[in-house]
Structures are given as structure tokens and as C-alpha cells.
């Protein structure tokens, strides 16, 4: 009881301390809206492209400043430190691609309590910790697209396939893999022999892919739903001199995969457009700062049309797009 009252006083003092901040941020809303854009980790090409799209939206909207930041390693602890710094700067909104949906909830709740609009994009934060989640696509569509890609990479639609995923705790990768498994009966030729984790790191993914090639000599396709994993796997196939024998597919960035498409280790792969994702994320965040309600409504997102959010606050942007020899060079220049 005593502790509770203490906590209450603490909360009231917190509210009192943030009051002037709330006023000043309202004053600023007339001028510049500042949005913190948090990546899973820095130095990842995907998030550089997201930032590019975010700045495009900021420019289009005119009075928006994007603060692009993130930890060096893909850890929840690192993201918490980054989010705390954003809270301290009294930004108007924070958009996060979460390394861990649950561990970020307490710090996100703190941001929400201080009047900051918190949304997640790409990889979700649990519903308690955000207003809406903008999924680049739906798990359903991506999981099925991955099976389709795997089948397309097989010469006669039959053979052993294996996965090189990100980390065992990656929210989105796990959701896609679940859909893939559920959809496998529709592809009787696909034989999923192993799921491995390359931790979204080039050297770990390379090691896992090499191990797969040694363990399953008759492996036909490596599917990697990670932009780091697909490149490392393609490199592993090329180094093992198994081009034409084993194909790599999955989700990747055109600029990073173009060389491997030309080398023949990748036939085709898919990705939504991260530039569009960054663009839509900023549009949605600004909608919320300007007073829009999130869950259960449809929010305008500039050139991306309007995005419908369900009652749980989840909205899907678009279906992933397939890249192959015919168009990869052209997109490699973009992201």
C-alpha cells in the first residue's frame, strides 16, 4: 500500500514533469513534427532504404523531421536505450521495427504515457506497446510467396529445401515460417528438411548455409527470409561450386542480390519495397500526431493510397514483389 502510494506520487510527478514538455511539443506541432525512426540495427541496407522513403515522405509533407536511429546489434536492450533517448528529446512520434515484441513494451508504454505516438513497422511491438503496426505485407502472403519462390526455383517442382532464417526470436521470420509450413501440403514436391538460424549476421548465415550443403548433398533450394541470410547463402553456394545444382531464394535487397542473380546462384527472389514502407510509416505516424485514431480506421498515406488498420491496429501495406534477371539491375540502382 505504502509502495503503491509512492508509485502514484511518482507517476503524478512524472506527469507534472512532462506537462511543460507536452505544451512545448504542441507548440512545435504547428511548426515541425519530429518522428524517431528506429531500425533493428544500423548498417543494414534494408533500413537505409526505409530511411530514404521516410525522408521522401517528410519532404512531401513539408513540416516533418525524421530522426533515423538504432542500435549496433539486433538486441532489445540496445533498442530500449535508443527509445529512451528519443523520449528524452520529446519527439512527437516513434516508429520501431522491433527486435523483441515483448521486451520493448515497458519503454514504449512510458513513451505513450508521455504523449508520444508509438507505432511499429516491419517487425511488430506487442499491442500494449504501440498504437498501430504497419506490416509491409501480410504474413499469409509472404509465407505463401516463399513457397512459391522455392517451387519456382526447383527444375521440376520436386526436391529438398532448407531454411536459413534470422534469429530464433525474430517475430516476422517466425510468422512467415509458420505460414510456409501450413502451406506446404499445397506443394507436394517440396521437402523441407531443416530450419537453421543465421542471426541476421553474414558470417553466421554463411556458416549455416555451408553446413546445410554438407549435411544434405542432394539439397535443391535454400530459402532465406532475411536480407542478410540470402546473400550469405548465395555466397556459400557459389563458394561450394554448386551453382546450377542448388538455388537460393527468399527475401532480399535487389542491390545486394543482383550480383548473385547474374552469377546464377539466385533465380528469383522477393521483397516489398522498403522505400515505400518508410514512406508509409512516416505518413501514418504524422496522421496520428495530427489527431487521427489508429485501430479500426483507414489512414491516408500519400502516394501509397490509404491503409486500413483492423481492430487490433494491424495494417498491411502491399504484396511482396518478385525480382529476377529481367528487372533486378533496374531496381538495384534504387535500393
Amino acid at each position: 500500500m505504502d509502495r503503491r502510494t509512492l508509485l502514484k506520487t511518482g507517476a503524478m510527478m512524472a506527469a507534472a514533469a512532462t506537462l511543460p514538455a507536452a505544451i512545448s511539443s504542441r507548440a512545435r506541432a504547428a511548426g515541425t513534427i519530429r518522428v524517431g525512426l528506429v531500425a533493428k540495427s544500423l548498417g543494414n541496407g534494408f533500413f537505409v532504404a526505409v530511411d530514404k522513403g521516410a525522408n521522401e515522405a517528410a519532404k512531401a509533407l513539408g513540416d516533418v523531421q525524421v530522426i533515423f536511429t538504432g542500435p549496433t546489434t539486433t538486441t532489445a536492450e540496445g533498442q530500449i536505450e535508443v527509445i529512451q533517448a528519443l523520449i528524452a528529446q520529446h519527439v512527437d512520434a516513434i516508429a520501431i521495427s522491433a527486435n523483441d515484441p515483448d521486451a520493448l513494451v515497458p519503454v514504449c508504454k512510458r513513451a505513450l504515457a508521455r504523449g508520444i505516438k508509438v507505432i511499429s513497422y516491419d517487425s511488430a511491438v506487442s499491442p500494449e506497446g504501440r498504437i498501430v503496426h504497419l506490416a509491409p505485407s501480410s504474413d499469409e502472403l509472404i509465407g505463401k510467396a516463399l513457397n512459391k519462390l522455392a517451387a519456382a526455383a526447383l527444375p521440376d517442382g520436386k526436391g529438398k529445401i532448407a531454411l536459413v532464417s534470422a534469429t530464433p526470436t525474430s517475430t516476422n521470420q517466425n510468422a512467415w515460417i509458420a505460414v510456409m509450413k501450413g502451406d506446404l501440403p499445397n506443394y507436394p514436391g517440396l521437402d523441407l528438411v531443416s530450419i537453421t538460424y543465421g542471426n541476421d549476421l553474414a558470417d553466421d548465415s554463411y556458416r549455416e548455409a555451408t553446413a546445410l550443403l554438407q549435411k544434405y548433398p542432394d539439397l535443391k533450394v535454400i530459402v532465406s527470409p532475411s536480407s542478410v541470410g540470402i546473400v550469405a547463402s548465395a555466397k556459400a553456394v557459389e563458394d561450394a561450386k554448386k551453382v546450377g545444382q542448388v538455388y537460393v531464394t527468399g527475401l532480399g535487397l535487389p542491390s545486394e542480390c543482383a550480383g548473385h542473380v547474374m552469377a546464377g546462384s539466385i533465380k528469383s527472389f522477393a521483397i516489398w519495397n522498403p522505400i515505400d514502407l518508410g514512406y508509409a510509416t512516416i505518413e501514418v505516424a504524422v496522421d496520428l500526431v495530427r489527431g487521427a485514431k489508429g485501430p479500426g480506421s483507414s489512414l491516408p498515406a500519400g502516394r501509397m493510397g490509404s491503409i486500413a488498420f483492423d481492430d487490433k491496429g494491424v495494417g498491411a501495406m502491399a504484396v511482396p514483389f518478385t525480382y529476377d534477371k529481367s528487372n533486378v539491375e533496374q531496381f538495384a540502382k534504387v535500393f
Binding site: 542500435p71 549496433t72 546489434t73 536492450e77 533517448a85 523483441d100 526470436t169
Partner: protein, 333 residues
């Protein structure tokens, strides 16, 4: 670690009074802390806010709490790089206990006891089986993390009762967090233990020259055993705080923290060869790392630059003090 060094290393440090060297080292650190504080306050208008400072303290208190017994261990001439994994193991077992429906007191007790046991296992490897501490704890670094992954896999444990959140998210008064108060109390306790008791004197003696210490009648292995066990216990305590702050457990929790913690200790002026250092230095180093990283992130400096700064800071401070002849930094030639 120091056991590999020749016996005759400890004659030179007696030249100056110990307190004077202590003062000089701490003054250097304190000045850097003060400079960085003023720099942050000047460069960011958001820095000088009690709640901002309070939020910033969360970024280092858990690591700093583990750094206190780590300092004792390094002074005694050993090292433990399994503390991050120990924290993960504790967190996972706590998560399982909470998932079984038990209340907060038992959950907290479990975390601390598991940490203690993990520390004891390290201690047995080093003192009984005579495995060099760096080798033993490289082993348990993988082992404890591996067990944590084996128990939870890619799942999450978050059945904690609401009152469990107090340890990592609660405030004692105003913006002063529970974690900060706990760290302050423990720092004083460790300072008294190391600098004011015979136990502390013996820990210095063991690190300075384990063979001479044994000959002088100090039970070296017994001391090392209890320092390892204490370190494990504190890793368990830090795990309680971190788990409470995150409100959930995944086996990847506290990944890489062992190096952050050892960085704090070394920056704090503890000699990696053992035998020298002070708790005050460790506290100041923890404060410095916390201030530097938070100050830079307030300016939205990318994390990559941040880790370069932390690394550079460590090398610069240690190398500079070595050149200037501050205590605990010269290697005997």
C-alpha cells in the same frame, strides 16, 4: 591470471602512499565525468531534466551492479566472462517459475539462487579442477546460454506478476529509481568491504601475489571461490532487475554484457593483472560510460559511432594514464 606472472612483480607500487595514487586516478576519472556532464548539458537542451537523467541511469545500473563483484574478482587476479550468460540462465528459470504460477518473492529468490549456483560452478572449475578462469568461463559462457536456449527455444516467458515490475521500473522517491538506490547502497558496501576490511586487504594481496599470499597463510582458493559465487549471485540480482525492466524473458537477454561490464571495471582503474584498483573508480567509470552513451544518443549519434567512442575512451584513458604514470597501469618490465 596473475598466477602466470613472475613472483617478483610487487615491489615498485610501494613507493608512493596508496591513498595518493588512488586519489590521482579517481580525480582524473571524476574530471572526465564532470567534463562530459557539462558537455552534454551544453550541447543538448533536453539533458538537464531530472526525469531524463533518471531514464539515463537505467542504461548502466544493472551492468554497474555486476561490475562491483567483477572488480573484486579481477583484483584477485581472475576473470569471469560468463556473467551475461548467467543472467540469461537466471532469467529463463525465473520465467519458468513465474509461468508455473508462483509469486514474485519466489521468482526473485530463484533468480538470485540460480546465479549463485552458476557462480559456484565457475568457482569449482577454477579452484578445484584448476581450469584457468578465462578458459572455464568461456566454457560456461556457451554452456549457460545454451541451457537457456534449450529451455525456452524461440519462445518467450512473460507470466510475471504486475508487482514484479517494481525492481526494474519502480521509483523510490521522485525520479530516483529503485535500481539507482540499490546500486548506490551496494557500491558503498563494496567500497567498505574492499578498502576497509581485512578481507579486502587479502583480496589485494591475492591478486598481487597469490603464491606469497598462500605462503602467508591466506586461504587463496577459498577467497576465490566466494568471489566467483558472489559474482554469480550478483549476476542473478542484475538478471532480476533487467527481467523486471523488460517485463519478459527471451534466451537472448543480456547478450554481450560481459564485455560491457569488464570495460567498466578496466576503465575504473582496476589492473587487469590483479592487485590494484578501487570501487570508487568503478563507480565513476560506470557513470562515465552511462553519461557518454546517453549524451551521444541524445544527439542521435548512430550507435556505431557510439561503440567507437566507448572503445576509444577505454584505450585513450588506459594508455594515457600508463604514459603519465598513474598507478595500476604500468607493467613491470
Amino acid at each position: 591470471m596473475s598466477s602466470v606472472l613472475p613472483v617478483a612483480t610487487e615491489t615498485a607500487p610501494r613507493r608512493n602512499p596508496a591513498w595518493r595514487k588512488l586519489l590521482r586516478w579517481e580525480v582524473l576519472l571524476a574530471l572526465v565525468v564532470l567534463a562530459d556532464f557539462l558537455f552534454n548539458a551544453r550541447i543538448s537542451k533536453y539533458f538537464l531534466d531530472p526525469w531524463t537523467l533518471s531514464d539515463a541511469s537505467f542504461n548502466f545500473t544493472e551492468r554497474a551492479i555486476v561490475a562491483l563483484p567483477m572488480a573484486l574478482l579481477i583484483i584477485a587476479g581472475e576473470i569471469d566472462i560468463s556473467v551475461g550468460s548467467t543472467m540469461a540462465l537466471c532469467s529463463v528459470v525465473m520465467g519458468e517459475v513465474a509461468a508455473a504460477g508462483h509469486g514474485t518473492p519466489l521468482v526473485v529468490l530463484t533468480g538470485i539462487v540460480i546465479g549463485f549456483l552458476a557462480g559456484c560452478f565457475n568457482a569449482v572449475l577454477v579452484t578445484f579442477f584448476r581450469v584457468p578462469s578465462i578458459v572455464a568461463t568461456i566454457g560456461t559462457l556457451s554452456l549457460y546460454r545454451g541451457i537457456a536456449y534449450a529451455i525456452v527455444g524461440d519462445g518467450v516467458l512473460k507470466a510475471y506478476k504486475p508487482n514484479f515490475a517494481y525492481f526494474g521500473q519502480g521509483y523510490v522517491v521522485g525520479p530516483i529509481s529503485f535500481e539507482l538506490v540499490l546500486f548506490g547502497g551496494l557500491a558503498i558496501l563494496f567500497a567498505v568491504l574492499l578498502h576497509g576490511t581485512i578481507i579486502g586487504r587479502r583480496i589485494f594481496a591475492i591478486g598481487a601475489n597469490p603464491i606469497a599470499s598462500r605462503v602467508a597463510g591466506i586461504r587463496v582458493d577459498q577467497y576465490k571461490f566466494w568471489i566467483f559465487a558472489t559474482l554469480g549471485l550478483f549476476a542473478g540480482l542484475a538478471s532480476v532487475l533487467l527481467t523486471s525492466r523488460l517485463g519478459s524473458t527471451r534466451p537472448s537477454i543480456a547478450m554481450g554484457w560481459e564485455l560491457d561490464i569488464i570495460t567498466m571495471v578496466i576503465l575504473g582503474g582496476i589492473s587487469i593483472d590483479g592487485g590494484q584498483g578501487s570501487i570508487m573508480g568503478v563507480v565513476l567509470a560506470a557513470l562515465l560510460i552511462g553519461l557518454v552513451t546517453f549524451g551521444l544518443s541524445l544527439l542521435n549519434v548512430p550507435g556505431i559511432v557510439l561503440s567507437i567512442v566507448t572503445g576509444g575512451l577505454l584505450i585513450a584513458v588506459v594508455a594515457l594514464s600508463s604514459v603519465l604514470g598513474y598507478s595500476g597501469r604500468r607493467r613491470s618490465r
